[in-house]
């Protein structure tokens, strides 16, 4: 009924390659914009993901005294795994790796594991700045998680399903972003929050010497950096599925539309990033609980009333 078919798990490596490719493109755009701000040509910064990867692959792993190596390793490696598992439920046009009837809940559950992973990276290093970074992430997550859950609820209520493919099909007439803009805005804020990125990157901020990244080097640092970019990319792709009509669009095949819309959303976030200051957890707490949460609850109420009225 929805025209989405689950494809063989043999396609998983290709899916991972697409996710990493789009994430690298976003990082390249970020590098290009930084180069332009520095007064150098745009193309001088495009090679940033390649140069940084080469640098970190060459670098030795650094250890700290009495580090909790196992916990640190779980956190460092886990972020990329979570991003891949999130991307698995995103329908790419007519194909999806895992057509879960509860795909939305799957996404949200993975999102909560990020709490543990970032904290473990911060805790496992046995280092003061990394620990402060870990504290900051927990406080930040406390601010974005509940608004995020309700923002995810709105499209699910409208589509009367938790299955991403059904949510895409329910947007055939009208994209959800047009009549639930508050939920979309809150989703985008939470997206940069769980990706520890942009204005919500204070857990790795310059004011705490890199925070949870403070004592990571070599492949460990690469995995966390890539984990953050892929979480952002997977989150943007899921946002396209929930709010921007997924693969809907004229002429081109569905999968191109998903990639195109994801790229546009990512580009908008990257372009905005440099203009926004860091929002530290203690600053956003009141805004999240007293502003975003009531607003998104109102949004869910409006959506529910519309759905009941229609039926």
């Amino acid at each position: 009924m929805t025209g989405v078919a689950e494809i063989s798990a043999a396609w998983a490596p290709a899916g991972a390659a697409v996710l990493l490719g789009v994430a690298a493109a976003a990082a390249a755009l970020d590098g290009a914009l930084a180069a332009r701000a520095d007064g150098r040509p745009l193309r001088a910064g495009v090679g940033l993901p390649v140069a940084e990867t080469a640098r970190l692959f060459r670098q030795r792993r650094r250890n700290t005294v009495s580090a909790d190596v196992l916990l640190r390793w779980i956190g460092v490696g886990g972020l990329l795994v979570v991003a891949l598992l999130k991307a698995a439920v995103v329908p790419l046009g007519g194909a999806v790796l895992a057509d879960l009837p509860t795909g939305l809940v799957w996404f949200n559950a993975l999102d909560v594991t990020v709490w543990a992973l970032v904290w473990l990276v911060g805790w496992g290093q046995n280092s003061a700045h990394a620990l402060v970074g870990g504290y900051r992430f927990l406080a930040q997550a406390l601010a974005y998680e509940l608004p995020l859950m309700f923002a995810l609820t709105a499209p699910a209520v409208a589509a009367a399903s938790l299955r991403p493919a059904d949510i895409v099909a329910a947007q055939a007439d009208l994209w959800f972003v047009l009549w639930m803009p508050v939920a979309f805005a809150v989703y985008c804020l939470a997206l940069v929050g769980f990706s520890v990125w942009g204005p919500l990157e204070t857990p790795v901020g310059a004011d705490v010497a890199g925070g949870v990244l403070a004592d990571l080097s070599g492949i460990d640092r690469w995995l966390v950096l890539v984990g953050r970019w892929t979480l952002l990319t997977a989150g943007a792709a899921f946002g396209v599925t929930l709010f921007l009509g997924g693969g809907a669009g004229p002429l081109l095949p569905g999968w191109t539309w998903v990639l195109l819309k994801t790229a546009v959303l990512l580009a908008a976030l990257v372009a905005l990033r440099r203009r926004l200051p860091a929002l530290r957890p203690e600053r956003i707490q009141a805004a999240a609980w007293l502003g975003a949460l009531p607003l998104v609850l109102l949004q869910v109420l409006v959506v529910s009333v519309v759905v009941v009225g229609r039926s």
């Binding site: 930084a34 180069a35 701000a37 520095d38 007064g39 150098r40 001088a44 910064g45 090679g47 940033l48 390649v50 140069a51 940084e52 080469a54 640098r55 692959f57 060459r58 670098q59 030795r60 792993r61 650094r62 250890n63 700290t64 005294v65 009495s66 580090a67 046995n126 280092s127 003061a128 700045h129 990394a130 402060v132 504290y135 900051r136 204005p199 990157e201 204070t202 901020g205 310059a206 004011d207 705490v208 010497a209 890199g210 990244l213 403070a214 004592d215 990571l216 080097s217 070599g218 640092r221 990033r273 440099r274 203009r275 926004l276 200051p277 860091a278 929002l279 530290r280 203690e282 600053r283």
Partner: protein, 392 residues
């Protein structure tokens, strides 16, 4: 060209440099920042993030010891450059790049390094016999001797690789896994909960931090409950290149630091580029216009004001500081940019620097991020304190 060499070339295109400024050599650091921007390199946030350690100026014995401790924490491939004059920076970074690419030399050097992290030197001088080192001591929030023992390290605890020498003088080595004393308990947090208490030094090697400042902090979670400040000075007998305090580049540099700590990348880059432009002697009228635009942009930004002002309002009169320090961090940032405009207009304003001894009182009770913004906004000048004559 083989794969290893290509990887090395690609890596050096974006080398990461940890810049250490010795009090008095701010002009050398500025030259280094301009050079990094020209090459497309970047400043490191911590020793683990760095490929190159660049020491600007001639450090005194304790600061040199801190630099050595940080050097031992660079993961490698690594290169070290010590420069004094600002004209030597370019050549020193060229040599560093060549050393990073030289795989054979890096391999030989790595061979001699210990596999396991080693303990670093204590942050306290070895002869600090002032008798206030009590284990699990009462947390004297805000008092001068906030740290309970000399269990602190040079690079802000980010190096438990270079942690302290574990309280051997207290005979409780069995309670110090890996030589690190356990976090003390009993600190009362603001909300009345009992918190673990950590002794953590901030500085002297820390990006966006006043040169040579070492702040021995007591942390409860991420809140500073007490602190003690000291300044690690330059080597004796080496003439410093003069102190440009109050000049347009000095004001712009402080504004850029503050904006970088606040995460406002676009504005921080603009301020840093304007600083570099004033140094190479761009047309003053054009610069004055650009600084004025930045000043108005920062002044107008409500989001930036809201994001920066976690530390609240400071009353300068109460703390016996220059009256211009009253207000919030954002007010002081706007003040720095206004001073830069005035200096470019040919009417520089003289401000009394905030003495480092005032910091512990101001910082007590602040979250670490707010504290960093506070320190950067207060116009602290360790070089002037070491050499009062040079500040005039």
């Amino acid at each position: 060209m083989d794969l290893t060499a290509r990887l090395a070339r690609a890596a050096v295109a974006r080398a990461s440099v940890l810049v250490v400024e010795v009090p008095g050599w701010v002009s050398t650091r500025w030259a280094a920042a301009a050079e990094l921007r020209r090459r497309g390199w970047r400043a490191a946030t911590s020793p683990a993030d760095a490929d190159v350690l660049l020491v600007c100026g001639a450090p005194g014995p304790r600061l040199a010891q801190a630099c050595d401790a940080v050097w031992s924490q660079l993961p490698g491939p690594r290169a070290r450059a010590d420069v004094v004059g600002s004209d030597a920076v370019g050549a020193a970074l060229d040599r560093a790049a060549a050393a990073l690419v030289d795989a054979g030399q890096q391999r030989r050097e790595a061979h001699g390094r210990p596999l396991e992290p080693v303990m670093g030197p204590p942050a306290e001088p070895s002869d600090a016999g002032d008798g206030d080192r009590h284990q699990d001591g009462p947390n004297e929030g805000g008092s001068d001797h906030g740290d309970t023992d000399h269990g602190d390290t040079y690079h802000a605890g980010s190096d438990h690789a270079g942690s302290d020498h574990g309280d051997t003088d207290h005979g409780d080595g069995d309670m110090a896994p890996g030589g690190i004393p356990l976090a003390g308990s009993g600190g009362e947090d603001r909300d009345g909960l009992e918190m673990d208490v950590l002794s953590v030094p901030l500085g002297p090697v820390l990006p966006h931090w006043p040169a040579g400042l070492l702040l021995h902090c007591t942390l409860a979670g991420d809140v500073i409950t007490g602190a003690r400040a000291e300044v690690l000075g330059p080597a004796d007998g080496v003439p410093t290149p003069g102190n440009p305090r109050g000049s347009a580049p000095d004001r712009l540099d402080r504004a850029a630091t503050l904006l970088a700590l606040a995460g406002a990348d676009a504005a921080a880059t603009t301020a840093a580029r304007l600083r570099d432009a004033t140094l190479v002697g761009d047309e003053v009228a054009r610069l004055a216009g650009a600084v004025d635009r930045l000043h108005r942009r920062v002044h107008r930004s409500r989001l930036l004001r809201w994001a920066m002002d976690g530390a609240g309002h400071l009353d300068a009169a109460q703390l016996d500081l220059d009256p211009c320090r009253s207000g919030t961090v954002h007010d002081r940032l706007v003040g720095l940019l206004a001073d830069a405009c005035a200096a470019l207009g040919g009417a520089p304003v003289t401000r009394t620097p905030t003495p480092v001894d005032a910091l512990p009182t101001v910082l007590a009770g602040l979250e670490m991020g707010s504290a960093r913004l506070m320190v950067a906004s207060l116009d602290v000048d360790p070089a002037a304190e070491l050499d009062p004559a040079g500040a005039a």
